[in-house]
Amino acid sequence: MDDVSHQVSARETGEQAIIAKLSGVTRDYPAARGAKPLHALGPIDLELKQGEFFSVVGPSGCGKSTLLDILTGLSPPTAGTATFEGKRIHGVPDGVGVVFQEDATFPWLDVEANLSFGLKQLQLSARERQDRVEQALRIMGLVGFRSAFPAQLSGGMRQRVCIARTLVTQPRLIVLDEPFGSLDQQTRLLMGDELLRIWRETGATVFFITHSIDEAVMLSDRVGVMSARPGTFIDMLETGWAQKRDSRNVADPHFGKLTGQIWGKLRGEALRQMQLQNDVAL
């Protein structure tokens, strides 16, 4: 299992710098009352290459969000080590931006204030701050909504605000956790295009979590396929897309081949995960 990722990364290390690295990472959740501790994740080995678009796809509940927490330093691994830019991760490192699965807009601030909020931490001139906000508003198509409050926006627009709020800090690693989960398919495809554009323009590394095979294949350079809980990588494949790509690649025969291949691996895992979930509930 693990050697898959090793092979790929071994081949690549010569060409590209590694921005983040997980080795032997696992996560146990402590026992709730009257239950065993839950082994939720791992062991995971992963090397994220500078500037790549990496996706993780796996069944719901397999530990994807747990993996995100560890990679971003939101919570420490139970075992193993995680590094970002060569330094061990303790707390969220500088240069990491996260877009969460849940709506994380601040309902008490309008869109513009939401965006500039994260910039207060950085020592920027007022001018620079304003420029970055304007740029993010423009990129995410939020200019007309700058003084709207999140409650007045649709779910898709709120997720745009979250992405924009991450972009203004100009992170070197952007981590997204099923960011388009609540959107309809067409909006998802378009948002995917925008994400690709941002990725190209900023040169940031993207770590993208999804349960959607299509989304993973369409967007990524590399897709990690996760097993049922406790999630480990059971496959790691290169899509081979050109850097300049967009959602129209779903019409490419290669797209069908890749999704078919992933589903072949994932079907059994998804079944197993459903079984797991039922067992717990009974």
């Binding site: 709730a32 239950a35 509930a281």
Partner: protein, 252 residues
């Protein structure tokens, strides 16, 4: 019962604090928990006390039932009509935040001295929260429940019995718990200055005599009663919400 430990420890600490108050701060002019307990036992072995309890209990039961019944009716009325809500909710909310004692002269005018006055006073306290909570429960029923009931071809009565009632029941029980507490409070306050019987009167009487021991004994009795009753109602409320099976919580 779940987790009795912490509340019991808190109770012990409360009694200890009370004892410290008795020993240190007030030089013994506040009786100790032991003395108050003994006084309560003495009271409870007399007929007068139980007559007072009966008196208060009767008024309370009626007040509580009336609060719940009319509270639910008003709440349903408000829940079904936006116009009614717009017209009456502000009035109810204001009434809720009004010190209702100042209306006592009016209550006495309308009902005279006696049981009906204190019942009225209990209802004045319990009715409004019951109505407002019922309205909220109804406002929060998901429209898809009603559409599902339609699809299942339930008639009006079956929809009410099988869908609407179970949907609002946990909230209703929560409302009843509050109506319970507040109508008891209303009845007791009513008794404090418009009755010659009942626990409220007994407490008022003891206050006049400066008999702190009896006051604390009555407080102990009322406190024990309402805590036990509330704990019971809370557990009913919890079981009605159907979300507390251990395994399911863990899976979430």
């Amino acid at each position: 019962m779940r987790n009795l430990g912490p509340p019991l420890i808190f109770l012990v600490l409360l009694l200890l604090g009370w004892d410290v108050l008795h020993l240190q701060i007030a030089n013994g002019s506040i009786s100790s928990p032991r003395e108050a307990g003994a006084r309560l036992v003495a009271l409870m072995s007399g007929a007068r006390f139980w007559a007072d309890v009966g008196e208060t209990g009767f008024a309370f039961v009626i007040a509580c039932l009336l609060s719940i019944m009319f509270g639910v009716l008003i709440g349903v009325g408000l829940g079904l009509s936006r116009l009614a809500t717009e017209a009456f909710e502000p009035i109810l909310v204001t009434f809720y935040s009004l010190p209702k004692v100042i209306l006592y002269p009016l209550v006495l005018l309308a009902f005279g001295l006696g049981a009906s006055a204190k019942i009225a006073f209990g209802v004045m306290h319990g009715l409004v929260p019951m109505a407002l909570l019922t309205r909220n429960a109804i406002a929060e029923i998901k429209p898809v429940y009603l559409r599902s009931a339609n699809v299942m071809q339930l008639d009006g009565f079956a929809t009410l019995r099988l869908v609407l009632l179970p949907a609002v029941l946990p909230e209703l029980v929560g409302g009843m718990r509050i109506a319970f507490s507040l109508s008891l409070l209303g009845v007791l306050i009513g008794e404090m200055f418009a009755a010659k019987r009942g626990l409220g009167f007994a407490a008022m009487n003891a206050m006049g005599l400066g008999d702190i021991n009896t006051i604390l004994a009555i407080g102990l009795f009322l406190g024990t009663f309402s805590v036990l009753a509330n704990v019971m109602m809370l557990s009913v409320e919890r079981s009605l919400r159907h979300v507390h099976s251990n395994s399911v919580t863990q899976a979430a």
